[in-house]
């Protein structure tokens, strides 16, 4: 067997996220952080509102990251980051990247006002939302990022979520900010590239990272990456970029768009769905995908 003499890693070897953190086994949110920090580097300040990462990082007086963190109030991730950036610049530090690092709840729901304000002003911060599609930190309650059909503790099986996932990319595009991108922990090199690219752009940048949660999705911890790949391959969560709210660019076009049934099948939160429900979901995924293709074609 031919063995390589040296290992070639597809991402920088240095870790800015240390072991010993409190994430569940197989946590997608930690992979998102691990990859993002490799792209961001040491000169970074994170503003983390209430979310899983408020706990994952570890309690006072410890931290698991080698970058400073402002554990800010729930609604305030975006604007806390704005404040930190303004403060740092006034004290002479114009180099440090200030990142708002929030979950889906703190982005789509309670944090949306601050985010909209920041985006409208085009404040110079990088906003990263890691999306595990519910309020996981508090025990899996539904958020507006929870997909149609999902079980959560506040959308029990007999009354599962019957509103579609909020389209954050469309909302952010309406603000005409310089850069928006979706990413998935199943495609770490693409995620890394996008964070690196966003880091060097001035103005408000918005990254939406798909981060599976075995605990809340009732999936096997070892399936986290598989899920994060399938969701792109079946076009439920396409990977694309938007510049200035107008120019759309698709990053990955699956050769063969897979049906969603296999993806739904390995998550307990979708176990209750009937054939009709799944058909409805497939139809919605297909419609959205066609719409996205058109938006990308225009450019």
């Amino acid at each position: 067997m031919n063995k390589q003499k040296t290992m070639k890693l597809s991402l920088p070897e240095e870790e800015l996220m240390n072991s010993g953190h409190l994430a569940c086994q197989g946590c997608g949110a930690t992979l998102a952080m691990r990859y993002a920090l490799k792209a961001l580097g040491k000169r970074t300040v994170l503003c983390i509102p209430a979310c899983c990462w408020s706990v994952i990082d570890g309690p006072f007086p410890y931290s698991s990251l080698d970058v400073p963190i402002f554990h800010c109030a729930f609604e305030t991730a975006a604007v806390s980051a704005s404040g930190v950036k303004a403060g740092l610049e006034m004290v002479g530090d114009t180099e440090t990247t200030v990142v708002a690092w929030a979950g889906d709840g703190g982005t789509f729901d309670i944090g949306i006002q601050a985010l909209s304000g920041v985006a409208e002003r085009n404040d110079n911060i990088l906003y990263i939302c890691y999306d595990n599609e519910a309020y996981m930190n508090t025990g899996t309650q539904r958020s507006s990022a929870t997909p149609w059909g999902a079980w959560t503790t506040t959308t029990p099986v007999k009354h599962f979520k019957e509103r579609p996932k909020k389209d954050m990319e469309a909302i952010m595009a309406a603000h005409r900010i310089p850069y928006i991108a979706t990413a998935s922990v199943g495609y770490p090199e693409d995620l890394f590239k996008k964070v690196k690219k966003a880091k060097d752009i001035q103005g408000t940048r918005f990254l939406h990272i798909y981060a599976p949660c075995p605990t809340g999705w009732k999936s096997r911890p070892e399936d986290t990456i598989k899920l994060a790949r399938m969701v792109v391959q079946n076009s439920t969560f396409p990977l694309y970029e938007i510049e200035w709210g107008e120019k759309y660019k698709l990053n990955i076009k699956p050769r063969e768009k897979k049906p969603i049934i296999d993806y739904l099948g390995i998550q307990g939160r979708f176990r209750h769905l009937t054939k009709e429900d799944i058909a409805h979901m497939q139809e919605e995924v297909d419609k959205k995908w066609e719409r996205l293709l058109k938006q990308c074609e225009v450019n």
Binding site: T44, V45, G58, P68, C72, G83, G87, V91, T96
Partner: protein, 384 residues
């Protein structure tokens, strides 16, 4: 340099001359002039600061916290609904030991919509760990902003400089604008030992168990307890440099007074006129205007009330289900120290209803007539 400016602009000039570095504010009547002038000052570079035009007061305070944590001198201003909207973050400022200075225009809380003066908005925040300074003249406002930065940055406790709606915020008075160099000498740049920077990474405000929270909060109280001495020290220093003493209370003819009125804000200066008129009529009245409400000046008040025969506390606020809040706090300070001194509690001026010298005459007569209070609360001026 002497200028004729409105109370709101005294806040703006105070923030400017203190070299504020980051301002994040949202408009609300009757505060708007504060931020409008600061906007202009930032635009024409009279003030070298970043002004974040946030989309709500909650975001205003959030931005201030971030900037302060980064080591910048931060300022904001608000009123009533806006202050209430910031509530959770006021706790963050004090617990996070961030020396933000904020101007608050005392305005009545809705419903119904009222833009006129009472003190419920700021007093509802008395437990949040902010120092509170109730001002009664434009000069006092300007001077107090400068002093507040100095005290806050030493203690790492935030401050609120408070003005009555319209009677102070919109009244024009002559102020002496101090020289920039002298202010720079009095108030050097903000250089915190700890700030958020990749040069020394820390996680601020993380999950804190019962094992540690208690000690952290003990330290906040300890800092507050050093506040009065520091306010006095910096007040005397201000007097040396600028000729005006910034006190903790204002004592007007209390020394030999038999009836002492306790007031705050602009009614504190109206009360002085009433006291002088009462004195003309042969009544030995005095006025104790409480300027620093947090930290509460227990000893100063006990001392001043020592010789009095009757005390009438006038509150332009009420804690529903209890009493006026200055009354509550004075009464609790006097417990065990009063020798049976009768303490009368009056509520007046809610929703901006005018408080005039006549109001105080009515209060004085009521208190003088009775040996001791016959009811918990006496309402002055309510149509019943």
């Amino acid at each position: 340099m002497r200028k004729v400016i409105m109370g709101n602009h005294a806040l703006s000039y105070g923030a400017m001359i203190s070299r504020s570095q980051v301002i994040a504010a949202y408009p609300i009547t009757p505060q708007t002039q504060v931020v409008e002038l600061l906007s202009e000052m930032c635009a024409d570079k009279t003030l070298d600061a970043k002004f974040i035009k946030v989309e709500s007061e909650h975001s205003a305070m959030a931005a201030c916290l971030g900037a302060s944590l980064a080591g910048a001198r931060t300022f904001t201003a608000t009123s009533a609904q806006g202050l209430a909207l910031m509530h959770e973050l006021l706790h963050w400022a004090s617990g996070g030991r961030l020396p933000v200075v904020m101007g608050n225009i005392n305005r009545s809380m809705a419903p119904g919509w009222s833009i006129w003066s009472d003190q419920n908005d700021s007093l509802s925040q008395r437990d949040t760990g902010w120092m509170q300074f109730y001002c009664c003249s434009n000069q006092e406002v300007l001077d107090t902003v400068i002093q507040a930065f100095k005290v806050s940055e030493k203690l790492l406790i935030p401050s609120m400089v408070i003005l009555d709606a319209f009677t102070l915020s919109h009244t024009y008075e002559v102020v002496d604008l101090p020289e920039q160099e002298k202010v720079d000498e009095y108030l050097p740049p903000f250089k915190p030992l700890i700030r958020i920077t990749p040069d020394e990474p820390h996680a601020f405000g993380g999950l804190t168990s019962p094992e540690h929270y208690f000690e952290l909060r003990y330290k906040v109280q300890k800092a507050m307890e050093e506040g009065l001495a520091l306010i006095e020290e910096t007040g005397r220093e201000f007097e040396k440099m600028f000729g005006r003493y910034l006190g903790i209370v204002e004592d007007h003819r209390c020394e030999d007074a038999e009836l002492i009125l306790i007031t705050s804000g602009t009614m504190g200066s109206t009360a002085k006129i009433a006291v002088d008129e009462l004195r003309e009529e042969g009544i030995k009245a005095g006025n104790l205007r409480i300027k620093v409400f947090r930290p509460f000046p227990f000893d100063i008040i006990r001392n001043i009330l020592k010789g009095a025969q009757k005390v009438a506390v006038v509150d332009r606020n009420i804690s529903y289900g209890h009493h006026g809040m200055f009354y509550q706090e004075v009464k609790s300070a006097m417990y065990g120290h009063s020798n049976g001194l009768p303490l009368f509690g009056f509520i007046a001026g809610l929703g901006g209803r005018d408080i005039t010298p006549t109001t105080f005459k009515e209060i004085a007569n009521y208190a003088l007539e009775k040996e001791k209070p016959e009811e918990e609360i006496t309402w002055i001026g309510v149509n019943r």
